[in-house]
Symmetry: C2
C-alpha cells in the first residue's frame, strides 16, 4: 500500500519538476529513491520524460536496475548510453545476471557488449549464454561453493568464509559436494556445516539432494521440482551428473511468475506473445502479435459461416432458430473453457500428467454430463419464455446438453493433443476452444433442428 | 522426467500388488518412497485403493505428507485415522504448518483437533489461526530468531546456535532485530553475523529491511514485495510496526503458485472455484461450481436472443446475415479476451495499477483501432469469398472494426470496474467478456445492417 502511493506520488513530482525545468531537484529526488522504485517509475514515464530521468541516474545505480527493466526500456537504455558505457556498468554485475541481460538484447548488440567485458568475465558469461534462456542452464548461477567429498569440514569452512567475503558466491544456503570426477554427491546445509566437528570429512556429513535438474531441461521443470520438494535451491547437472551450477530461489520465483504470466497470456489468445510489460510494450508490436492470432482465429471461425449456410433451408423456414445461435455457441465455448482451464493448469503444475489422460477424460465425461443435465431445463425454460415457440425451445433444450458435453470433452482433449504433438498445452487458448466448439456446436444444433422439424413435418 | 516415470510406474506396481493382495510387498514399496512421491501417488489412486495404502503408511510419514494433500484427501485421511491420532501426528509439526492444515478442515473438526494438541502448541497455533488464511498473518511463521538492538553479537550467536540446534527456528537466512518496544529495526544476514566482530552491539551491524508487510495485508501483497525486492523472506508487523513473524520463501512460492492458479481458473470462467486438485476434486463439487457460472452466463447471454429477435425483419429479408453471427461475436470475444488478459495480468503482478487507468485505456484505444484496421480487409475478402454477396460482405467489413474496438475497450474497462467496486479484477473471465461483447457486437452488426439495407432500399 505504502509503496504504491509513494510511486504514484513520485511520478507526479517528477512530471512537475520536468515541466518546471528544476533539474537539480529532480536529480536529488531520483537519487534518493530505491533502485526497485526507480524501475517502477521509469517504466511509467513517457519516453521523452524517461530519457531525461535516465540521464540523471548515476552509473552505480544502473548495476541495480538494468536487469529489472522491461525488454523495451532496456534496449532504450542501451542505445542511449552506448555499448561501451553499458559494458562498463555490467562489469560490476554477476555473470548470471549479465548473461540474462545479454540474452534479452539483439544478437549484434549482445556480441558488441560481450567483447567489451573484462576477459575473465567473458568466459563465464559465454558459458551461460550457451544454454537457452528457457532452460535450467539459462537461469542457473555458476558462483556456487563446491568441495570434494574428501575434504575436511574445518578447511572447507575456512575456504568458504574467505571466498564468501570476497563475494565469490551467490546467495546460497548449501555447500555442494562432488566426487573426484565432478559428479554431484549431495549437499550440506551451511548451518549444519558450522555445527559439524571440524575434523570430519565431507563424505561423512553430506546429505543427498532431494532433486537435481538437467542443464537443458525446461526451467519450468526446475521450478516444479523446487515447489514439489519445498527446496530453496536446486543443483544443475549435465548428462554425466556432473555439477554445473545451481538455481537460487529468487530466480525460481522469477521463473514461476514468468511462466504463469506466459500461460495466462496464451490462454487469453495472445499466442507466444507480448513479453515484458504491457505498459511499455510498443503498440505496433502488440498489434502485430494480437492481429496474427485474431486473423488466424477469424479464418478458422469462418467455417461456421459455411455450417450455417449449409442449413439455410432449415433456417429460412424457422427464422427464430437464428436467435439462439450466440446463446448456444457461447455456452459451448464457456463449458469448453472451464474444462480446458482445469486441465491446462493441472498439467502446468505437474498435478496431472499425460499418464492421467484416461482418468481425466472419464472424470470430464461424468462432470460434463451432469453439467448438461443441470443446464438443459434452464435452457428450455428461458428459450420458451423468450420465444414462446415450443418447437424452437425444444430444439434448444435438446442441443444444449450435447453441445456442453462435446465442448467440455474437446476442452480436455485439445491440451493433451497439443502435448502429444510436443507443443505447450497452454497454447490451447480460450478463443481456440470457443472456435472449435462453435463449429461443432452449430453442427449439432442445426442437425437436431432439421431432424426434429422433418419429424414434425415443418420443413 | 525421471520422477514422472517412477511415479507412474509406482502406481502400476501398487495396483498390481493390491489386485494380488500382496500386502507386505505393498507396505515395503510405499515405505521406500519419498514423502512427496507418496502424496503424488495417493492423489492418483481411487478412493478404495487410497484407503488401503493410507492404512499402510507409518504415522511418522504423516508428519511429512499431511500438509501436502489436497483438501479432499486431507479430510478423507482425518476421518479415517480419527481426530485423536491426527492430533498426535500433528503434535510433531511446526505451528504454522499445523495452522495451515487446521484452516483447511471444517470448523468442528478443527476445534476438536486443536483441543487435543499439547498445551504449549495450542497457544501458538491459535494465534496463527486468528489471521485469515489469505492474509500475510495466515502464512507467516512465528518461529523466527528475534534479538534486541542492545545485545552483543557473540551472545546472540551462542543463543542462536543453541536454539537452532533445538529446532526452534524455521529455515531462515536473517536474524531479526527489534527495539525495546518490539518494533522492527531491521535484520542481519546470518552469514554476516558470523563474520562480524563478537563484541559489537546489534544496533551497529543491523541493516534496514527493504520491505515489511502488515499482518492483515493480502498474502499476495507479501508475494509482490518479495518479487519486487528480490527477497528470500519478509518480516510481518502489526499496526505499530511490532514484529510478529516472517514469511519464508517456500511459503511465498506456494502463495505465488496458488494465486496464479486462482487467477487462471477465474479467467477460464470458474469463479471462486475448485480449490486443490482437479484429479481428486469431487465431481459433484466440480459440477456445482461450474454450473453456477455457466447458468449465470447463459442467462446473461440470453439477452442476445432479444437483440437478434429485435432485428427479425432485417434478418428475414437478408437471411445470409445470420451466417456471420458466430464469426462476428467470436472475433469480438477474442479481441476482448486479449485485452482483458493483458490488463488483468498487469494488475495482478503490480506492473500496472489503478493509477495507470487512463494510460492503459489510451494505449488500448490506439492498439485496438490499428487491430481493427488490420482485420477489416481480411474480414471483407473472406466474407465476400464465402457469401458472394457484396452487401453482406460490406456490412461485415463495416461492423468488424467497430466490434473489435468496442470489445477491446470493454476488456480493459471491466477489470478496472471490478477493482473500483472492490472485487478482484481476475473475476473478469474470458466467458464474461465474450458475453458482454456478444451483446454489444450483435447490436452494432444489426444496426449497421439495417441502416445500410435501408440506404440501399433493400428493406
Amino acid at each position: 500500500m505504502d509503496t504504491t502511493v509513494s510511486i504514484d506520488e513520485a511520478i507526479e513530482s517528477i512530471r512537475e519538476l520536468i515541466r518546471e525545468h528544476r533539474v537539480d531537484e529532480l536529480r536529488k529526488l531520483v537519487i534518493e529513491m530505491r533502485p526497485q522504485d526507480i524501475v517502477d517509475v521509469i517504466e511509467r514515464l513517457d519516453s521523452s520524460e524517461r530519457r531525461l530521468v535516465l540521464g540523471l541516474i548515476p552509473s552505480s545505480y544502473y548495476v541495480e536496475i538494468l536487469d529489472r527493466l522491461s525488454d523495451e526500456v532496456l534496449y532504450e537504455v542501451v542505445v542511449s548510453k552506448g555499448v561501451s558505457k553499458i559494458a562498463r556498468i555490467m562489469s560490476d554485475m554477476q555473470p548470471d545476471v549479465i548473461a540474462d541481460i545479454l540474452a534479452r538484447l539483439p544478437p549484434r548488440t549482445r556480441r558488441r557488449i560481450l567483447a567489451l567485458l573484462p576477459p575473465w568475465k567473458i568466459e563465464e558469461v559465454a558459458t551461460l549464454l550457451r544454454y537457452p534462456p528457457e532452460s535450467a542452464g539459462g537461469v542457473m548461477t555458476t558462483r556456487i561453493p563446491v568441495f570434494s567429498v574428501d575434504e575436511v569440514v574445518g578447511k572447507v569452512l575456512e575456504e568458504y568464509t574467505v571466498k564468501y567475503q570476497l563475494g565469490l558466491y551467490d546467495k546460497l544456503n548449501y555447500v555442494y559436494v562432488v566426487d573426484r570426477g565432478g559428479e554431484l554427491v549431495g549437499w550440506i546445509e551451511f548451518k549444519n556445516l558450522l555445527t559439524a566437528s571440524r575434523d570430519r570429512r565431507l563424505r561423512e556429513v553430506v546429505q543427498p539432494c532431494p532433486a537435481r535438474v538437467h542443464v537443458l531441461a525446461d526451467r519450468e521443470e526446475a521450478a516444479r521440482l523446487v515447489v514439489k520438494y519445498d527446496l530453496v535451491e536446486i543443483p544443475v547437472v549435465d548428462d554425466k551428473d556432473r555439477l554445473l551450477g545451481a538455481i537460487t530461489v529468487d530466480d525460481i520465483i522469477d521463473v514461476i511468475v514468468a511462466e504463469s504470466t506466459e500461460d495466462i497470456l496464451k490462454f487469453g489468445g495472445l499466442g507466444e506473445s507480448v513479453r515484458g510489460s504491457y505498459l511499455t510494450a510498443r503498440v505496433t508490436e502488440l498489434v502485430r502479435r494480437r492481429a496474427t492470432w485474431l486473423i488466424f482465429l477469424y479464418v478458422m471461425e469462418s467455417i461456421t459461416v459455411s455450417v450455417i449456410g449449409f442449413f439455410e433451408n432449415v433456417l429460412s423456414s424457422v427464422i427464430a432458430l437464428s436467435f439462439f445461435i450466440p446463446l448456444l455457441t457461447a455456452t459451448g465455448g464457456n463449458a469448453g473453457s472451464q474444462a480446458a482451464t482445469l486441465v491446462i493448469r493441472s498439467l502446468a503444475t505437474g498435478e496431472a500428467r499425460p499418464y492421467d489422460f484416461l482418468r481425466i477424460v472419464a472424470k470430464e465425461a461424468v462432470s460434463s454430463s451432469l453439467l448438461a443435465l443441470t443446464i438443459s431445463p434452464v435452457g428450455f425454460l428461458l428459450a420458451y419464455t423468450i420465444s414462446h415457440n415450443i418447437v424452437v425451445a425444444s430444439i434448444v433444450a435438446l442441443s444444449l446438453p450435447c453441445i456442453v458435453v462435446v465442448a467440455s470433452l474437446m476442452g480436455v482433449l485439445l491440451p493433451f493433443i497439443a502435448m502429444a504433438i510436443k507443443t505447450d498445452p497452454a497454447i490451447i487458448s480460450a478463443p481456440l476452444i470457443s472456435t472449435v466448439s462453435d463449429i461443432t456446436g452449430l453442427t449439432i444444433y442445426f442437425t437436431i433442428a432439421s431432424i426434429l422439424l422433418k419429424l414434425l413435418g415443418l420443413t
